[in-house]
Point group: C2
Chain length 632, copies 2
């Protein structure tokens, strides 16, 4: 965490000084905004927290509810999401508070006495070390609280505008604020009052029954719901021995349970199989009384019993898998000819079962993806063409999610005798672990993702996938640390320069690259406006092959030690060495001739290039950056 | 973190429900309190945060300043303090924000060109793994902020009463609130107004010039100050390559510098040697202008230069080593015949140089030591005789601290040519590392510390030293974790039951011990009042020798799985197995026949006993516990 460089900070350094639109931010929703976010769920709150880091952008987030969410439905937090929380600065706090999944148990009918269940196997969660972050379970309401805190502590002092329901929107052909949004007051003494807000862009994060989606004419396509599940968050006494372990429980004749222990040591969630819903049910299954769900759970758990003492929340739902045809308001025939002005995210785009614990996670990555792009376009860093990549990138991810969830929830609903092998469910879970952990997203080549031409120089950083951190040693203070954990959600591009074999100070490809980066007119850094710190748009870090004690920081090119803040202090925290025994060059398969790894503001690897490929790097960013201010 | 067991908690689980004196807590300082803490420094704030956990005790903390401390002098945080922060629930947050020391560099005159300094060596901080917690540097103001938050979120909703200065106190011979304290308003429109508060106990945390100390007639004895140091927290440009590493810098002719990098990546502290103070100086050295200190620093750093751009704080002080004769108001001739009513802590008891980075740390442990004892006596758990152990225990620690600091600061002030060996300073630093890390405290046998008779059963848990955590695996949720990290600062005694070889469920010494613990009339648990959870006063945890997957939690004696809260839910989080490859029985030298380790509320090992020594355990607690409620 870097601070004090604008003068001594006495209080919490996480509270950034108010700046730009955060100074005298109007309490009331203004008539004109840059971005209007509709809905304060995980996608909306993440997008708000990200846009809140851009001081000159006016972002407002409207929410139908009158206040904070008290209890939410989602609770599964993939390691990829925890990695994202780390970028927003609250991973360590939510980890301390959440339930952590380290194993999953699989219970099946006892072959000798099929009316009893027995533990059939255990699977270690993330046995292969997909991430250094844990797999967590915690109520969605707490995730939203943390993002709300980040947004409120950001320069723009962004807080949700509660009590406003989205009614309709209209996109004009031109004008500064082409989207006119009609809202209606949904809480307070003036409930029912209508008003309009004009926005440059609208992000619809308003859930499965999204009105924003309807207003831009998207359609949801998918299978018909046909299997019902009762879900309950409860406190109970039980003799089921794995009550604090995530379990898939299959009974002989009573259906199945997915058990998710929850934060705090006592609460747990159960998804209880209510069976196939007849075609003429017309939603009657949703009225299944709680007593019946508990009785069913007891039947499945036999010989164990469940004595529910307190119910925090419960619901009945039918599984549906549906996906929207596009994630913005640009219809196929307009593609490339106009800028999208309205985007939809999360459940507004994709609905599916809750049991793979994916929904909140994918939604958050939707929000992360669109938010930095809006920030860059509105700030003038990038052309509006950047915005078309949102729908292109996230639609594919949603499709993959739905395919995965279909397979998983179908397997969860199968009867034990329908499996070819009793361990089939367990094997599937272990084999596909990278997907539910959130790391299978791999963006295709596009405006912001290069081709994998030079992938061989950095085999452990696949282009299009998220930058997987590894250990390095910071030279200035000798601290061993995760390189990726410095990638805070500040909207900056990152350029990791992995040096060739030469020591710091020698004439070498890395020294030439540094020189080019800071002086060439076609270097991406040349786009950084005058008056800003040299690293305001691009965070450049160098990693030498030597351990820290063999690196003379005074010999490191000055380009890697920029001056920052009003006192023009040297930022020494961009120069790293390797950790003996855990060498990032080995661990991530990096070329000993050096390699440049370009990482997007949302942590995905955008390009891999040799140290000498300055022209390619210039060309890559020429498409993404709007203007060049030659003199810096 | 355990919560939800009293019903669903929607918000931050760190905010405990208000209870007892926290319900309708008066905003104004009342006329009568149980404990009055004078001074809101590290000792006072920790004591307040600890006492705040006892709902029925009225604790108020008065502070002369009108509000929160903006910038403090102390900044060194030992691993022992971070361990303590972990118990109070904010270690992960302060770690994320602080500077972390992983190495220290030693600079000396270049033998070839003595007017230049060169790096003579580096020493790894905590090379031997004294603690799993890091060594940090962060401003004292932030430490106080975190403790203030803990106190405010505790059941009693304790917040400091700012703007009250201590004037005098009087201890009566009897009565419910024998201490009458005179305070004067030091801030606000009514400044100068006097009032009195009657207290059962007073804790003086009012610093080196403590008026509480004076009021109980303690004297400070020690050496005369004779060496002056300039200290500055600054932002600067420099070419000194180790500016972000902790350094001891000795120049040939200009004196020495102790360099302490600070939180945030840019600020650093320098202690600059201003030389021996003449006898007739009369404090003139304290008026040394800042420019002169900076010039001196440049002289020492030659050939490197320091261009100070911004000064956050600076001071000049003369080293003094002084220690009070006692830590409470009981004079030697009264020892054993009356209960102490007034205690002093921290700088009020011991003053020394700041350069070993010890002051704040030792002060906090003073506060930790007295606070739980006051809590237990005031709640009626323990006899008032417990309070005499405070002065007895902490006076020795202060004496050791002063001896250490004398050696260290004398060495720091020595000229290079006065050393027998150029590496003498470095060698001393490495050899004595356990002391400044805060782990040399070893309480002598007393009412609350047993003799080391059975030390051989647990060689890694020395009686009288702090319980050094190790990894275990929690059976119920298969989570690997540090056993000691569950020891939150909740005022409870801890009984760690390390099982014999038998598996859970077998007839065995551990099963017999469990049975005795929960049923015997002389078991310490029998003292827990009716109506409280079985683990309200004693937190009993069992650690089996098997890995978690070989432990059937249903076979574990029910005594290790108490029912808690209004729904009488099972607490499964007290049953552990070993981690293969990191077996706590190996790592801490524990007997394979089992062993009981008793740990105090302030984390010090109080006793080591065989599983069969129930009579000894009963006898140990019989002295500490006030009353026995036979029926539970």
């Amino acid at each position: 965490m870097q601070f004090h460089h604008h003068g001594y900070v006495s209080g919490d350094p996480r509270i950034q000084p108010a700046a730009g639109t955060g100074i005298d931010r109007p309490e009331q929703l203004p008539d004109e905004v840059d971005v209007l976010i509709v809905g304060s769920g995980p996608a909306g709150m993440l997008a708000a927290a990200q846009l809140a880091q851009f001081p000159d952008i006016t972002t407002r987030i409207v929410e139908r509810r009158g206040g904070r969410l008290e209890i939410g439905q989602a609770d599964g937090i993939q390691a990829r999401s925890v990695e994202t929380f780390q970028a927003f600065g609250f991973a360590e706090r939510i980890i301390a508070e959440a339930y952590r999944i380290t194993e999953m148990a699989f219970w099946r009918p006892d072959t000798e006495n099929p009316h009893n269940i027995v533990r059939g196997g255990r699977a270690v969660d993330d046995a292969t070390g997909i991430s250094e972050f844990p797999h967590l379970i915690v109520n969605q309401a707490r995730v939203l609280d943390y993002f709300a805190e980040v947004a409120a502590h950001a320069p723009t002092r962004t807080t949700p505008d509660y009590g406003w329901e989205f009614r309709a929107l209209d996109v004009a052909d031109g004008g500064d604020h082409p989207v006119t949004v009609t809202l209606v007051r949904s809480a307070g003494p003036d409930a029912g009052t209508e008003r309009t807000v004009r926005a440059k862009y609208v992000v619809g994060c308003d859930g499965a029954r999204s009105s924003v989606r309807a207003s831009i004419g998207c359609t949801m396509a998918g299978d018909k719901a046909n299997h019902a599940w009762g879900v309950m968050d409860v406190l109970a006494r039980t003799d089921f021995p794995d009550i604090r372990t995530k379990c898939a429980i299959q009974s002989h004749d009573g259906g199945s349970i997915l058990l998710i222990p929850r934060e705090g040591g006592h609460l747990f969630r159960m998804y209880v199989d209510l069976g196939v819903v007849p075609d003429d049910d017309n939603g009657a299954v949703r009225n299944t009384p709680m007593e019946q769900i508990i009785a069913k759970a007891n039947q499945i758990l036999h010989p164990y019993t469940l004595d529910v003492r307190n119910i925090a929340w419960h619901s009945v739902y039918e599984v549906g898998h549906r996906l929207t045809d596009r994630f913005d308001d640009v219809v196929p025939e307009q593609l490339g000819s106009r800028t999208p002005r309205v985007f939809i995210t999360g459940d507004a785009c994709h609905t599916h079962s809750a049991k793979a614990g994916q929904g909140m996670n994918v939604s958050m990555q939707d929000g992360f993806n669109i938010a930095w792009k809006l920030g860059h376009v509105l700030e003038g860093r990038s052309p509006a063409s950047l915005l078309a990549t949102y729908s292109a990138e996230r639609q594919v991810v949603a499709k993959n999610l739905i395919d995965f969830d279909k397979t998983w929830s179908t397997m969860m609903a199968k009867k034990p005798e329908e499996f070819d092998d009793p361990a089939e469910l367990e094997d599937f879970y272990v084999r596909t672990a990278e997907f539910p952990a959130g790391f299978m997203t791999e963006y295709a080549p596009s405006l912001i993702t290069g081709a994998a031409t030079h992938q061989g120089l950095a085999t452990g950083f696949p282009v299009g996938k998220r930058f997987k951190s590894a250990m390095v040693s910071r030279v200035c203070d000798t601290n061993p640390m995760h390189l990726g954990h410095h990638a805070t959600a500040d909207g900056r591009w990152r350029i990791y320069v992995f040096a060739d074999r030469s020591p710091a100070g020698a004439a070498s490809p890395v020294a030439d690259f540094a020189q080019w980066l800071s002086t060439a007119p076609d270097s991406p850094l040349a786009a950084t406006p005058e008056g800003l710190d040299a690293d305001a748009w691009f965070d450049v870090k160098v990693i030498y092959q030597q351990p820290h004690e063999d690196i003379d920081i005074n010999a490191v090119p000055a380009d890697f030690k920029p001056f920052v803040g009003p006192f023009e202090l040297t930022d020494y925290e961009k120069v790293y060495g390797t950790v003996p025994g855990d060498d990032i060059f080995e661990v991530r398969g990096l070329s000993r001739d050096g390699v440049v790894v370009v990482v997007r503001p949302d942590q995905y690897v955008a390009n891999i290039l040799p140290l000498t490929a300055t022209a390619e790097l210039a060309e890559f960013f020429a498409r993404i950056l709007n203007t060049r201010q030659a003199a810096r």
